[in-house]
């Protein structure tokens, strides 16, 4: 019911849009107002740039996760995958440094490694889910453990650090940008635009929703269910690679604690944004709101002394649940 409401929103424009649409927007507006009231620096350009740049990693991953979940899948391995790709990227760039020297070629090499590793990792998840027919939860739980161990092993239990000179050279990829926007923000925006077009205007988005909604019906309607699923995982892997390219220049290091719980943050952002966890319906713009909501909560808690830091997790939990309830109430009404 709610879905048709959302889709036929144009007919009912005379009234307010349904709560499934208003819910996340309302939550974001309330958070912005609260933040602005609590701290005058909240709306400063520097603070907003900070929040948007560091939300970009989760954001880029969450866009991919939106497609996976819409098609009825799930991927728990993205955080560990990001840590593994970051470690691999650092090792390759350090190894190539004597031959190539700091410059554009070595950066391109690092990027190619990240994209390729992400694509392969995503295809591997997708292959095991579709061709081997193993439950997505189990496959990605397994690969999560594998990637997390691999990065610990690569780092010998410590931290993999990019060569200092090289780090200075690639730092601008995270911190600089054009027109007051940092590169992570720009890349995030591009990923969102492409994702939104694919999801709401393209055939692929409809096929994802059909697959997630009812696999058999989709199959008889000539949707190549397995291929759609495989592509969503591959796409997510590729996006994890892109997020890692943005992540590595920031601190120039990767360790066993890199990307911990990113998968849950990405999934939470997707669900807050109104995508249905069991598949069948997804929206990329909602995921963006979810990412911003999560990023702003953390930022506001750090900017104020109102709550004991021991309770930060509880506040985040309450707001996540509230944001989802806001939508549910709209559905039953």
């Amino acid at each position: 019911m709610a879905m048709t409401d959302a889709e036929q929103g144009s007919k009912a424009r005379t009234r307010l849009p349904p709560m499934t649409v208003l819910g996340p927007i309302l939550a974001l507006v309330i958070l912005v107002l609260v933040g602005a009231a609590l701290n005058s620096n909240f709306l400063s350009a520097a603070n907003l740039t900070n929040v948007l740049s560091r939300s970009a990693f989760i954001g880029i991953i969450a866009v991919g996760m939106t497609f996976v979940i819409t098609a009825g899948g799930l991927d728990l391995s993205v955080g560990a995958m990001a840590a593994f790709i970051a470690g691999l990227m650092i090792l390759v760039m350090n190894a190539a440094l004597p031959a190539l020297g700091p410059g554009v070629p070595i950066v391109l090499l690092g990027m190619a490694v990240a994209l390729l590793a992400g694509l392969v990792a995503g295809l591997l998840n997708g292959f095991m889910v579709t061709t081997l027919g193993i439950e997505a939860f189990i496959v990605t739980l397994g690969t999560m453990g594998i990637y997390r161990s691999l990065v610990t092993w690569l780092a010998d239990g410590g931290t993999l650090s990019l060569d200092f000179g090289l780090r200075t050279y690639i730092r601008p990829i995270y911190f600089d940008g054009i027109l007051g926007m940092t590169w992570p923000m720009i890349v995030f925006a591009l990923v969102v635009i492409v994702g939104e077009i694919l999801m709401s205007r393209g055939v692929f988005g409809r096929h994802c929703a059909a697959t997630g909604s009812n696999e058999h019906v989709a199959h008889y309607s000539n949707v190549r269910v397995g291929r759609v699923r495989l592509i969503t995982y591959a796409m997510l892997g590729l996006l994890v690679g892109i997020a890692t390219i943005m992540y590595v220049p920031r601190l120039g290091s990767a360790s066993a604690s890199t990307g911990v719980l990113w998968e849950l943050e990405a999934i939470a952002a997707v669900i807050i944004g109104g995508t249905v966890l069991k598949g069948g319906f997804g929206r990329v713009w909602g995921t963006v709101l979810g990412v911003l909501i999560l990023g702003l909560i953390e930022n506001i808690l750090n900017l104020t002394d109102l709550v004991s830091p021991y309770l930060n997790g509880a506040i985040q939990g309450v707001i996540i649940i509230l944001a989802v309830i806001l939508q549910r109430e709209g559905r039953s009404a």
Binding site: A155, S255, D305
Partner: protein, 315 residues
């Protein structure tokens, strides 16, 4: 099929394990948490180094190392050591105090020598030797340095670790040491001993407070994130960042007189090596090693930094 493979494997492992234990006189088990973060990585490195060295010096001693990624796994490791290796002594760095207390007590009651490292067990008197890290001292030394580096007083922010007893003891020690020194702690948040978390927290501290004199990052991993945030914000009001635990990159910067990293406070992961050495000495000689051995947290300054720099350690 599965069962036969498993039985064959188990039998193979058992014979492989039992053979050397027969040939040697003394077996010492070492059970430590796996290398899941920088400090634990260093601790694993030093444990392996100590074992290699001791096995060369004392051919009659066999050392068995097991690393666990959670308390339950550590309990299983210890049970396996007792059951299959017949250990004479156990060196254990408990993952958590509570869950390990009962199992270690059971091992102690069977007559095995127990050495506990870093965090103590919940019941006193189980261990024969306790090699302890000094968390309250870690906070106190950090606070004393902060007070001496800001003689006029000043405004600081602090980052805390993962909410645990260890973290509380450090923070209490720090707060006691800066009391009455005119140092105002503007804000304190958990950076969870993690580079990314501390980067985020520090960015927000920088937005929130226009004037910060110094940062107590309380850990070198967190100091890395803090320094990146300060550098990105281009703020020059922050005079220095005090980390801790003695990561080699940070020790090197102190040694090279980097004004942002004027000092470090040790919490040496090599304390595991102290514990293994003492235990083995107690097993092979008549030298008494029972009691408590506290590893002090020391202040590293540019003058003595070279002594604390271990180029081969991963931490």
């Amino acid at each position: 099929m599965g069962i036969t493979i498993r039985t064959a494997l188990a039998a193979g492992v058992l014979t492989a394990l039992a053979a050397p234990a027969m040939a040697q006189d003394i077996t010492v088990g070492v059970s430590i948490p796996a290398a899941t973060h920088g400090w634990a990585g260093g601790m694993n490195f030093h444990a392996q180094q100590a074992i290699e060295r001791l096995e060369e010096v004392y051919p009659q001693v066999d050392l068995v190392l097991a690393t666990a990624s959670d308390p339950a796994e550590q309990v299983s490791d210890i049970e396996d050591m007792v059951a299959t290796r017949g250990i004479d002594a156990l060196v254990v760095l408990p993952f958590e105090s509570e869950p390990l207390t009962g199992p270690v007590q059971a091992v102690a009651e069977s007559g095995v020598w127990i050495t506990v490292v870093d965090r103590g067990l919940s019941v006193d008197g189980i261990e024969d030797l306790y090699v302890a890290g000094d968390n309250a001292g870690f906070g106190r030394v950090s606070g004393e340095f902060m007070a001496s580096a800001l003689p006029e007083g000043g405004k600081i922010v602090a980052l805390r670790g993962i909410p645990t007893t260890i973290d509380n003891m450090r923070v209490e020690g720090f707060e006691a040491a800066i009391e009455g020194k005119n140092i105002e702690v503007l804000g304190m948040e958990h950076g969870n001993w993690n580079r990314d978390d501390s980067f985020t927290v520090m960015q927000d501290f920088l937005s929130r407070f226009p004037e910060i004199d110094a940062v107590w990052a309380s850990d070198d991993d967190m100091a890395v994130g803090v320094l990146a945030a300060i550098e990105a914000a281009g703020r020059d009001d922050v005079q220095f960042v005090l980390g801790g635990a003695g990561m080699k990159e940070m020790i090197a910067r102190t040694r090279d007189n980097d004004p942002m990293i004027p000092a470090n406070v040790t919490y040496p992961p090599a304390m595991i090596a102290t514990a293994i050495e003492l235990t083995v000495v107690g097993q092979v000689s008549s030298a008494p090693v029972a009691g408590t051995f506290t590893i002090g947290s020391e202040l590293v300054t540019p003058e003595n930094a070279a002594e604390y720099y271990f180029p081969d350690s991963p931490f």
